[in-house]
């Protein structure tokens, strides 16, 4: 049985004290341990942003790519080796700004990856500009008169796009977040875990006290049915005095990889890589003769 300690890294995080990323890091470790996925069996793909440094601060196999392209790298890695459990961890700018098209396409394709988005509703690493999930009217260095954009709605968009697992966690609810990531890891298909995460340096209006007063868990409502798409979509838009977290929507569909003939024999990279057999060469030649 694995424990959190099996994922301890050698480097200390450079995140601000109080940053939500500390809890997300712990939750990822706890979820991997709980699902018995060892550091070499997981592949965490990240982008660029404070939170995308996460795999450097734990023991796990990882790949930190470009800003915004995280899900695309994860898609390729998963299709080439579905023996690895591929998870992305990236911020809201990365996932819903520069990477918005990749997010929606991964959702509609039901690519079997866990997509963790550290949603602090601000740009941290570039110092405080408004993000795709910042509220309308948000004043920042790039929106001095207040943002004229309305925020993206990642959960409703994921449901609309066809995601088969749509959830939101909160970094102030560590156990619940670890449980959610674990559920996502166990889900066959694209699984979104949007994480409400205070940025204590650049987004003080959305600190722990803001969320602590408002957040409630869908799992505490006996009547909430996460298989009902219409209800899930409505609940995904709820934002105000009460902010829901938990599994909004789940269903099962064939994953993208399930439908690819070449992957039936096992992960692509585990299939023998050899030069063509003489009969294969003859068949290819026949096509052009």
């Amino acid at each position: 049985m694995l424990t959190r300690q099996d994922f301890e890294g050698q480097e200390r995080p450079t995140w601000c004290p109080g940053c939500g990323n500390h809890a997300i890091l712990n939750a990822v470790k706890m979820a991997l341990a709980e699902k018995n996925i060892a550091p070499h069996e997981a592949l965490i793909i990240t982008g660029i942003g404070c939170g995308s440094k996460l795999p450097h601060y734990m023991k796990v196999t990882g790949f930190q790519g470009l800003h915004g392209r995280t899900v695309a790298v994860a898609t390729g890695a998963h299709l080439a080796n579905h023996g690895l459990r591929v998870m992305t961890v990236h911020g809201d700018g990365d996932g819903y700004g520069e990477g918005l098209a990749h997010f929606l396409n991964a959702a509609r394709r039901n690519i079997n990856i866990v997509d963790v988005v550290q949603d602090n509703r601000i740009y941290g690493l570039t110092k405080g500009q408004y993000s795709p999930t910042s509220e309308h009217g948000k004043r920042t260095p790039t929106s001095p008169e207040g943002a004229a954009d309305w925020p993206v709605q990642p959960l409703a968009m994921a449901i609309t796009a066809g995601a088969t697992f749509v959830s939101r966690g909160y970094s102030g609810e560590l156990k619940h977040l670890a449980w959610l990531i674990g559920e996502a890891l166990a889900h066959p298909g694209y699984a979104l875990v949007d994480v409400l995460q205070p940025c204590v340096t650049f987004n003080r209006g959305y600190a722990y006290d803001f969320y602590n007063e408002r957040v409630y868990k869908l799992e505490d409502e006996e009547e909430y049915d996460p298989t009902d798409k219409a209800t899930a979509w409505k609940r995904a838009l709820e934002w105000g005095d009460r902010i829901p977290i938990g599994v909004f929507y789940r269903t099962e569909l064939p994953t993208y990889g399930d439908q690819i003939p070449a992957l039936r024999a096992g992960p692509l990279v585990q299939q023998p890589l050899k030069t063509l057999q003489p009969r294969q060469v003859e068949s290819l030649r026949a096509e052009i003769m």
């Binding site: 990882g62 898609t75 390729g76 998963h78 080796n81 692509l268 299939q271 030069t275 290819l284």
Partner: protein, 580 residues
């Protein structure tokens, strides 16, 4: 008159099936023992406009299309209008007898052969779109080419659509042959089949590169459609199930290359086929492959830019862009195959090279090479020499016995670090687009930055040993040495032959299919005896000339540059060489 070199051109509107019937006829001619160069010429639209397909037929190996046309198959009046002036005296035009031709379209020295193309296609095949098959049948009849070869291609191409479709096409083709009979006396050129010839192949540069890539172990192809690179994705998608490959038509080119990087990082041999506009979107990720030392192959079938440019035409203007694309510095390969044979060979070799040096390789083709069909000998693609060498990839046993912590970016003398693939308990690391320590951890420490930049840069020395020397053609000594790269080889080779046939020792050529690392020493040797040098290339600014000057300090004696979207032809080049 027995003709040894004959060009047939079929023209009409987009949507008339010219490209597929042109390719089918080219295959029939190849099966009939003749050599063919088949080149589509089309506009960027699906219906309307004017498209044509030129088929040059010879009895000896050929490398290029050529300009004079002997027979035009006009599916509409516009075809006559555009091409009547290109016909050689004594040539002919087959056209639909339902059309009334204005006198200004007629030429006294060209035969006009009215055939009821639409009516016969409807009568014999039930569909007027089959008039292209009818016209090709008529062409076969006119030149005396045995129509049984056309029948064999019809059976192969339409077999899966059922006997009724096959029979309809056979009836239409036969009707074309018969309809041409009355005109044979008025058309002097003949190109009969050569049944004694050995079997040969016909393919284009895209096919050849895809075949090479598959043979070389490429098993992951992600792309976004863009003319003229998309057929490589089509080819792989059609062969994916049978050969165990994964293809992904991605949401955009940025996704495509990042997917390929993800796939290559975990160990698949991966590539992205595209054209220049698509590669423009891939630039940042090219650098990602460079700094993470991920072996990927980028294939750019060039078309004229910038932006949308001339979408269905040809140019060689992306070379310096490909060479310098991405911020920062890292080693890369840049190849530019000149023929289908080289497209195949580079197609498999490049996958060994990227794994040996753990860095991206860029392969430049262009519209002319990518879509031009050429007949080659049955052994022209040497599958026998294909090998798969994964370079310094750690084996399972080596990883099992690893004692020290694994260093993915270990500083080595060659610059190449032993590579593990994700998934082994002894090799748990994080690769990063940031500069990093040997173990992959992010750093901004000055000495490590220098060590990693130097390490990556040292790969170039090994890479330079791998690249081929430029290929010489023609006499050892000549009045003028023509320098070229990529697809220009074909037309220029024939131009050299023609120049030397007119006067021995007029010209030879030096062709470059490896542009980076640049083969400096081999170039110096090859040019030691050159008298006058002229660079022939398909761009406006003389990109190869710049490259040559950068690496050798040489200035050349002249330049022939074409950038009207049309490919070089031997006729064009012979005339230009004389001018220059």
């Amino acid at each position: 008159m027995i003709q040894n070199d004959l060009t047939i051109r079929i023209g009409g509107e987009a949507g008339m099936g010219l490209e597929s019937s042109g390719a089918g006829f080219s295959k029939a001619l190849t099966r009939g023992g003749l050599y063919v160069f088949g080149l589509p010429d089309y506009y960027s639209r699906i219906r309307g406009g004017h498209n044509f397909y030129s088929i040059r037929i010879t009895r000896q190996p050929l490398y290029s299309h050529a300009e004079p046309v002997h027979l035009v198959l006009a599916l509409d009046v516009e075809t006559i209008r555009r091409h009547v002036g290109s016909i050689i005296p004594g040539g002919g035009i087959i056209y639909d007898s339902k059309e009334e031709l204005p006198d200004e379209l007629r030429r006294a020295d060209v035969g006009f052969f009215p055939i009821p193309l639409t009516r016969l296609a409807e009568e014999k095949g039930g569909r007027d779109v089959m008039r292209n098959t009818l016209a090709l049948g008529a062409a076969a009849g006119l030149i005396g080419f045995d129509p049984t070869y056309i029948e064999s291609v019809i059976r192969d191409n339409f077999g899966r659509k059922g006997d009724a479709v096959v029979d309809a096409n056979l009836r239409v083709a036969q009707a074309g042959v018969e309809a041409a009979e009355p005109f044979k006396a008025d058309f002097a050129f003949r190109m009969e089949a050569a049944p004694e010839a050995p079997p040969r192949m016909i393919l284009n540069g895209n096919d050849a590169f895809a075949l090479g890539a598959l043979a070389g172990g490429c098993r992951f192809v992600s792309a976004y459609p863009m003319t003229p690179g998309s057929p490589v994705l089509h080819w792989f998608a059609a062969h994916a199930e049978k050969y165990g490959a994964v293809t992904k038509h991605a949401e955009d080119e940025i996704a495509a290359i990042n997917m390929a990087i993800g796939a290559a990082h975990v160990g698949a041999r991966a590539m992205v086929p595209t054209s220049g506009g698509g590669f423009s979107l891939m630039v940042e990720a090219t650098g990602l492959a460079g700094i993470t030392e991920t072996p990927i192959v980028i294939y750019n079938a060039q078309r004229p830019g910038p932006a949308t440019g001339l979408p269905t035409r040809t140019e060689q203007a992306d070379m310096l862009f490909m060479l310098h694309a991405s911020q920062g510095e890292f080693p890369r390969f840049l190849f530019a195959p000149g023929t289908v044979e080289e497209s195949f060979q580079i197609g498999w070799q490049v996958f060994n090279l990227v794994e040996r040096y753990q860095t991206p390789a860029l392969v430049l083709s262009d519209h002319y090479l990518a879509v031009g069909y050429r007949t080659v000998e049955a052994n022209a693609l040497n599958f026998g020499e294909v090998s798969i060498d994964r370079g310094e990839l750690l084996t399972q046993e080596e990883l099992d016995s690893l004692q020290e912590p694994y260093l993915r970016y270990k500083v080595t003398e060659s610059g190449v670090s032993p590579r593990a693939l994700p998934g082994h308990p002894n090799a748990v690391w994080v690769s990063s687009s940031n500069e990093h320590f040997e173990n992959g951890a992010i750093t901004e420490e000055a000495n490590m930055r220098i060590a990693q930049v130097d390490k990556r840069g040292r790969k170039l020395a090994g890479m330079a040993q791998e690249i081929p020397a430029p290929t010489a053609y023609g006499p050892d000594e000549a009045d003028v040495t023509l320098l070229c790269w990529g697809s220009t080889y074909g037309p220029l080779r024939e131009a050299v032959d023609r120049l030397n046939a007119a006067k021995a020792g007029q010209a030879n050529l030096l062709h470059f299919n490896a542009l980076h690392p640049f083969p400096t020493e081999a170039t110096e040797q090859a040019l030691a005896k050159a008298k006058r040098t002229i660079v022939v290339e398909g761009n406006n600014t003389g990109q190869f000339e710049t490259l040559l000057h950068t690496h050798t300090g040489r200035s050349v004696g002249g330049a022939i540059r074409r950038y009207d979207g049309r490919s070089f032809t031997p006729d064009y080049l012979v005339a230009k060489v004389k001018e220059v």
